[in-house]
């Protein structure tokens, strides 16, 4: 029989503490869409996405209704488009983005990811064309997300790609300057990119994935923060236990939704991503969790340790709750999407350097950070190189999603709306790394990559 207190606890999590399933992401392979005619390629892609995902939004809404749990986003990820660009020119590549965007609009989904290239060791012709086309593709589409993997622990860091991505990010910001440089909010640079990540902007359908697959990303920072607050004065070991138990419950919901979506769509279940993904809503913030542990404000000394505890406990709790775990799995710290982070950045408590340290112990990287519009491409490449190095050396995923807000200076705020939130423009160290970046080449893989 159902226990009344269990029912009340679940209801409270959903009503008061912003528990939700962040996303159901349907991965679709586009290998069979290949063509050397740009028009035909775009049509093939559109047809494939439409035929595989036509039920996604309806099924998501039905599941939401059945279990009373909000499913915030329904998304699609596709095979990295660079693999289809081998015989395309830039217009052909942009045509792919337009086809994806058209399908996404017609399906009613929130985002479509996979305008991506994997260039950790070097760029193929297709990858080169795709990367070149990213600024235009993101400027002329609304729902397409792009990612570029520039490094891995196995391959090292492709510094030519890092240099190029600095320029691409700047160009993307300039082309979308009239919309708060929003193009950059849909572009992420990765090290060790996971192939089954359901979260945007970094989702793509990896090379070893099945024809179609369902991946689910959970959320629920509000639930964790409330549980810690209720615990009162207790040791950090006890806090870790509380987080584990809460993460277990949150992830179980993700698993339930993933199974149900997989059954209803007739698509194999891939993974549940055990992530604490914040939203700009008050109470749905990872920063508040850190503050509820006893920090005056996120960014204070001790923040990295608190985040390390949180990240580890989330994984330990979540891993038993799901049969398959993958993606990024950990705490997210996107500045613009987290009310607590926004406040900390605005008050100066949280700086880029501290965020960089935090990324060494959590699941993503420098995420959704607005920087001054006059930041040079070389400095952006320097930021990327630093962040990517942390990922490569620590055998983990790291990523950079910075937004050079054209026309804005430190202290201004850029508003992206919706889940993307608003970002206070943060100061950046402007000393030039230009000579270092211009050297190009590849930073060799670290010694511990040689595990065989």
């Amino acid at each position: 029989m159902l226990d009344k207190f269990d029912i009340l606890e679940t209801l409270n999590m959903i009503r008061e503490e912003c528990l939700d399933v962040r996303t159901i992401t349907l991965g679709i392979s586009l290998y069979d869409c290949q063509s050397d005619d740009p028009r035909r390629l775009a049509d093939n892609i559109y047809d494939k996405v439409m035929s595989r995902a036509h039920n996604l939004v309806k099924v998501g809404n039905d599941i939401e209704k059945m279990y009373g749990i909000p499913i915030i986003n329904k998304r699609v990820s596709v095979t990295p488009a660079a693999l289809l660009c081998g015989r395309m020119d830039r217009d052909g590549a942009v045509g792919i983005a337009r086809a994806l965007d058209r399908a996404a609009h017609e399906l009613g989904i929130n985002f479509i990811g996979g305008y991506s290239a994997l260039v950790q060791k070097g760029a193929s012709d297709g990858s080169r064309v795709l990367i070149e086309s990213i600024p235009e593709a993101l400027a002329c589409t609304e729902l397409v997300c792009s990612s570029v993997n520039v490094a891995s622990t196995k391959a090292g860091i492709n510094m030519d790609a890092v240099a190029e991505m600095g320029r691409v990010i700047r160009r993307t910001a300039e082309l979308t300057a009239d919309r708060g440089s929003i193009g950059c909010a849909k572009l992420v640079v990765f090290a060790n990119a996971p192939e089954d990540n359901p979260f945007m902007a970094g989702a793509f359908h990896g090379l070893g994935e099945p024809e179609t697959v369902i991946n689910v990303g959970v959320s629920g920072p509000g639930v964790v923060a409330s549980a810690i607050r209720r615990a009162g004065d207790c040791s950090l070991a006890e806090i870790a236990e509380i987080i584990k138990k809460t993460a277990f419950k949150i992830t179980r919901v993700g698993q339930l939704v993933a199974r149900e979506a997989s059954n209803r769509l007739g698509v194999p279940f891939g993974i549940v991503d055990l992530s604490l993904a914040p939203t700009p809503a008050i109470g749905d913030s990872v920063a508040y969790i850190l503050e509820s542990m006893g920090l005056e404000q996120c960014g204070a000394c001790g923040t990295t340790a608190a985040l390390a505890l949180l990240n580890d406990a989330v994984k330990k709790g979540g891993v038993m709750a799901s049969s398959q775990v993958g993606g990024l799995s950990g705490a997210f710290i996107p500045v613009s999407e987290d009310a607590g982070m926004i406040a900390a950045a605005r008050s100066g408590a949280l700086r880029l350097e501290k965020l960089e340290a935090m990324t060494a112990v959590c699941s993503v990287g420098l995420d959704m950070i607005a920087i001054p519009g006059d930041t040079s491409a070389e400095v952006i490449s320097g930021i990327i190189a630093d962040e990517i190095a942390i990922g490569v050396v620590n055998t983990k995923t790291t990523a950079v999603r910075v937004i050079p807000a054209i026309g804005c200076k430190v202290g201004d705020t850029v508003n992206f709306g919706g889940l993307l939130g608003e970002a206070p423009v943060m100061p950046v160290n402007t000393l030039s790394p230009a000579k270092f970046i211009a050297r190009g080449g590849r930073i060799p893989a670290p010694i511990h990559s040689l595990k065989n």
């Binding site: 009344k4 679940t10 279990y67 086809a99 339930l256």
Partner: protein, 115 residues
């Protein structure tokens, strides 16, 4: 007009969609009602249950400082409407009476609290 050859780059949904989902595994549902106390809340909610062929198994109800809280466990094996419609019908009663009524399949509670 029926199209025999599909034009590339245009897409139409399949002509015969599969059976509508929602009644695949009917079991129990939990109806929770929260709001300011008024006369006849239980009557309205249970009347709607009866209309939809939903059998009430257990009701636990309290009034705390004028606030009405009820958790109702129902058997939806004999439900005569699609489950999502029942959820909507309940939510409508809630809106009409200034109450918050959530109807949820029991599986969410079972998976969250039982290993």
């Amino acid at each position: 007009m029926r199209r025999t050859v599909r034009q590339r780059g245009t897409w139409f949904p399949p002509e015969k969609p599969g059976p509508p989902p929602g009644k695949a595994r009917p079991m129990k549902a939990v109806v929770s009602v929260i709001g300011k106390d008024t006369v006849g809340i239980i009557a309205k909610v249970s009347a709607e249950c009866a209309r939809c062929g939903v059998n009430i198994l257990d009701i636990s109800q309290t009034v705390l400082q004028d606030y009405f809280t009820m958790i109702m466990i129902t058997d939806i094996d004999g439900i005569t409407v699609p489950f999502p419609d029942f959820v909507d019908a309940m939510a409508r009663i809630g809106n009409a009476n200034n109450l918050k009524i959530l109807t949820m399949h029991e599986d969410i509670f079972n998976t969250m609290h039982k290993i």
